[in-house]
Protein backbone atom coordinates (compact mmCIF):
# COMPACT_ATOMS: atom_id res chain seq x y z
CA UNK A 1 0.00 0.00 0.00
CA UNK A 2 1.13 3.57 -0.60
CA UNK A 3 -1.49 6.29 -1.04
CA UNK A 4 -3.88 4.46 1.29
CA UNK A 5 -1.50 5.18 4.17
CA UNK A 6 -2.02 8.90 3.62
CA UNK A 7 -5.79 8.42 3.47
CA UNK A 8 -5.71 6.49 6.74
CA UNK A 9 -3.82 9.33 8.43
CA UNK A 10 -6.34 11.87 7.15
CA UNK A 11 -9.26 9.73 8.33
CA UNK A 12 -7.68 9.52 11.80
CA UNK A 13 -7.07 13.28 11.80
CA UNK A 14 -10.78 13.95 11.48
CA UNK A 15 -11.50 11.77 14.48
CA UNK A 16 -8.70 13.32 16.52
CA UNK A 17 -8.62 16.97 15.44
CA UNK A 18 -6.13 17.97 18.14
CA UNK A 19 -3.53 15.63 16.67
CA UNK A 20 -1.13 17.42 14.31
CA UNK A 21 -1.67 16.38 10.71
CA UNK A 22 2.07 16.12 10.04
CA UNK A 23 2.45 13.72 12.98
CA UNK A 24 -0.34 11.45 11.74
CA UNK A 25 0.91 11.54 8.15
CA UNK A 26 4.48 10.83 9.22
CA UNK A 27 3.29 8.21 11.70
CA UNK A 28 1.45 6.35 8.97
CA UNK A 29 4.82 5.87 7.25
CA UNK A 30 7.05 5.12 10.23
CA UNK A 31 7.60 1.47 9.19
CA UNK A 32 8.58 2.57 5.68
CA UNK A 33 10.74 5.41 6.99
CA UNK A 34 12.62 2.81 9.05
CA UNK A 35 12.66 0.32 6.18
CA UNK A 36 14.37 2.74 3.77
CA UNK A 37 17.68 3.07 5.69
CA UNK A 38 17.55 -0.59 6.78
CA UNK A 39 17.12 -1.65 3.16
CA UNK A 40 19.85 0.71 1.99
CA UNK A 41 22.18 -0.75 4.62
CA UNK A 42 21.30 -4.29 3.58
CA UNK A 43 19.78 -5.20 6.94
CA UNK A 44 16.46 -5.73 5.18
CA UNK A 45 17.27 -7.01 1.69
CA UNK A 46 14.75 -6.11 -1.03
CA UNK A 47 15.55 -8.78 -3.63
CA UNK A 48 12.46 -10.91 -4.16
CA UNK A 49 14.15 -14.20 -3.28
CA UNK A 50 15.51 -12.94 0.02
CA UNK A 51 13.02 -10.17 0.83
CA UNK A 52 13.04 -9.41 4.54
CA UNK A 53 11.44 -6.52 6.40
CA UNK A 54 10.71 -8.01 9.80
CA UNK A 55 12.48 -5.26 11.75
CA UNK A 56 10.52 -2.45 10.18
CA UNK A 57 7.19 -4.17 9.44
CA UNK A 58 6.49 -7.15 11.73
CA UNK A 59 3.54 -6.98 14.13
CA UNK A 60 5.52 -6.68 17.34
CA UNK A 61 8.06 -4.20 16.00
CA UNK A 62 5.29 -2.07 14.50
CA UNK A 63 3.62 -2.00 17.92
CA UNK A 64 6.97 -0.94 19.39
CA UNK A 65 7.53 1.79 16.75
CA UNK A 66 3.96 3.01 17.25
CA UNK A 67 4.43 3.18 21.01
CA UNK A 68 7.76 5.00 20.74
CA UNK A 69 6.47 7.48 18.16
CA UNK A 70 3.24 8.08 20.09
CA UNK A 71 5.23 8.68 23.28
CA UNK A 72 6.72 11.78 21.66
CA UNK A 73 3.22 13.28 21.63
CA UNK A 74 2.12 12.15 25.10
CA UNK A 75 2.42 15.69 26.46
CA UNK A 76 -0.26 16.79 23.98
CA UNK A 77 -2.74 14.49 25.68
CA UNK A 78 -3.75 10.86 25.61
CA UNK A 79 -6.17 11.35 22.71
CA UNK A 80 -3.41 12.76 20.52
CA UNK A 81 -0.97 10.00 21.53
CA UNK A 82 -3.56 7.31 20.81
CA UNK A 83 -4.33 8.85 17.41
CA UNK A 84 -0.63 8.91 16.53
CA UNK A 85 -0.27 5.30 17.74
CA UNK A 86 -3.18 4.28 15.52
CA UNK A 87 -1.69 6.12 12.56
CA UNK A 88 1.53 4.09 12.87
CA UNK A 89 -0.32 0.82 13.47
CA UNK A 90 -2.61 1.49 10.50
CA UNK A 91 0.46 0.88 8.36
CA UNK A 92 0.56 -2.74 9.52
CA UNK A 93 -3.17 -3.23 9.01
CA UNK A 94 -3.06 -1.85 5.47
CA UNK A 95 0.01 -3.90 4.55
CA UNK A 96 -1.43 -7.06 6.05
CA UNK A 97 -3.55 -8.23 3.10
CA UNK A 98 -0.95 -7.63 0.41
CA UNK A 99 2.77 -7.20 0.88
CA UNK A 100 5.87 -8.48 -0.93
CA UNK A 101 6.13 -11.10 1.82
CA UNK A 102 3.53 -11.97 4.48
CA UNK A 103 4.23 -9.87 7.55
CA UNK A 104 6.04 -11.61 10.40
CA UNK A 105 4.79 -11.80 13.97
CA UNK A 106 8.22 -10.60 15.12
CA UNK A 107 11.69 -10.45 13.52
CA UNK A 108 12.78 -13.87 12.23
CA UNK A 109 9.56 -15.44 13.48
CA UNK A 110 8.36 -18.53 11.65
CA UNK A 111 4.82 -17.20 12.08
CA UNK A 112 3.64 -14.94 9.28
CA UNK A 113 0.36 -13.10 9.09
CA UNK A 114 -1.84 -12.20 6.17
CA UNK A 115 -4.65 -13.52 4.08
CA UNK A 116 -2.63 -14.99 1.25
CA UNK A 117 -2.91 -12.17 -1.27
CA UNK A 118 0.82 -11.48 -1.35
CA UNK A 119 1.32 -12.95 -4.79
CA UNK A 120 -1.45 -11.16 -6.69
CA UNK A 121 -0.43 -9.53 -9.95
CA UNK A 122 0.45 -5.86 -10.12
CA UNK A 123 -2.80 -4.79 -11.84
CA UNK A 124 -4.99 -6.54 -9.28
CA UNK A 125 -2.92 -5.02 -6.49
CA UNK A 126 -3.46 -1.56 -7.97
CA UNK A 127 -7.25 -2.02 -8.01
CA UNK A 128 -7.33 -3.44 -4.50
CA UNK A 129 -5.36 -0.42 -3.31
CA UNK A 130 -7.78 1.87 -5.10
CA UNK A 131 -10.73 0.24 -3.35
CA UNK A 132 -9.07 0.61 0.06
CA UNK A 133 -8.08 4.17 -0.78
CA UNK A 134 -11.64 5.03 -1.80
CA UNK A 135 -13.07 3.62 1.43
CA UNK A 136 -10.57 5.51 3.59
CA UNK A 137 -11.08 8.72 1.61
CA UNK A 138 -14.83 8.43 2.16
CA UNK A 139 -14.18 8.06 5.88
CA UNK A 140 -11.97 11.16 5.72
CA UNK A 141 -14.57 13.20 3.84
CA UNK A 142 -17.32 12.21 6.27
CA UNK A 143 -15.19 13.14 9.26
CA UNK A 144 -14.02 16.38 7.66
CA UNK A 145 -17.63 17.42 7.03
CA UNK A 146 -18.44 16.76 10.68
CA UNK A 147 -15.44 18.88 11.66
CA UNK A 148 -16.60 21.57 9.22
CA UNK A 149 -13.31 21.55 7.36
CA UNK A 150 -13.64 23.81 4.29
CA UNK A 151 -14.77 21.79 1.29
CA UNK A 152 -11.91 23.06 -0.90
CA UNK A 153 -9.35 21.72 1.58
CA UNK A 154 -11.06 18.35 1.75
CA UNK A 155 -11.22 18.19 -2.05
CA UNK A 156 -7.55 19.21 -2.34
CA UNK A 157 -6.43 16.54 0.13
CA UNK A 158 -8.53 13.86 -1.58
CA UNK A 159 -7.17 14.92 -4.96
CA UNK A 160 -3.56 14.72 -3.75
CA UNK A 161 -4.10 11.23 -2.33
CA UNK A 162 -5.85 9.99 -5.46
CA UNK A 163 -3.16 11.54 -7.67
CA UNK A 164 -0.47 9.73 -5.70
CA UNK A 165 -2.21 6.46 -6.41
CA UNK A 166 -2.57 7.26 -10.10
CA UNK A 167 1.12 8.18 -10.29
CA UNK A 168 2.02 4.77 -8.87
CA UNK A 169 0.32 2.98 -11.75
Amino acid sequence: MFAAHFAAALAIKDRAPRAPAWALLTGAFVPDLLWIPLAALGVEPTARAVFFDDWSHSLLTTIAWATLFAAIFWRRGAAVAVAVWLAVFSHFLLDLPIHPKPLALYPHSAVHLGIGLSQVDRATYWWVQLAVLAALTLLYVQGARRQQVPARLVAASALVVLSLHLLMR
Binding site: P17, A19, A21, L25, A39, A40, V160
Partner: protein
Amino acid sequence: MSVHDAVVQFVLIVIPVVLLALIDGFDFTGRA
Protein backbone atom coordinates in the same frame (compact mmCIF):
# COMPACT_ATOMS: atom_id res chain seq x y z
CA MET B 1 18.51 -1.01 -2.28
CA SER B 2 20.93 1.64 -3.53
CA VAL B 3 21.34 4.99 -1.82
CA HIS B 4 19.71 6.60 -4.87
CA ASP B 5 16.67 4.35 -4.55
CA ALA B 6 16.52 5.07 -0.83
CA VAL B 7 16.53 8.82 -1.46
CA VAL B 8 13.77 8.45 -4.08
CA GLN B 9 11.66 6.38 -1.68
CA PHE B 10 12.18 8.93 1.07
CA VAL B 11 11.21 11.85 -1.17
CA LEU B 12 8.11 9.97 -2.38
CA ILE B 13 6.92 9.91 1.23
CA VAL B 14 8.11 13.28 2.48
CA ILE B 15 6.76 15.45 -0.35
CA PRO B 16 3.14 14.23 0.03
CA VAL B 17 3.40 14.50 3.83
CA VAL B 18 4.47 18.14 3.54
CA LEU B 19 1.90 18.87 0.86
CA LEU B 20 -1.01 17.34 2.80
CA ALA B 21 0.11 19.02 6.02
CA LEU B 22 0.21 22.34 4.17
CA ILE B 23 -3.28 21.76 2.81
CA ASP B 24 -4.43 21.01 6.33
CA GLY B 25 -3.26 24.48 7.26
CA PHE B 26 0.30 23.68 8.26
CA ASP B 27 -1.39 22.40 11.35
CA PHE B 28 1.44 21.85 13.80
CA THR B 29 -0.68 22.56 16.85
CA GLY B 30 -3.95 20.81 16.07
CA ARG B 31 -7.12 22.13 14.53
CA ALA B 32 -9.25 22.41 17.63
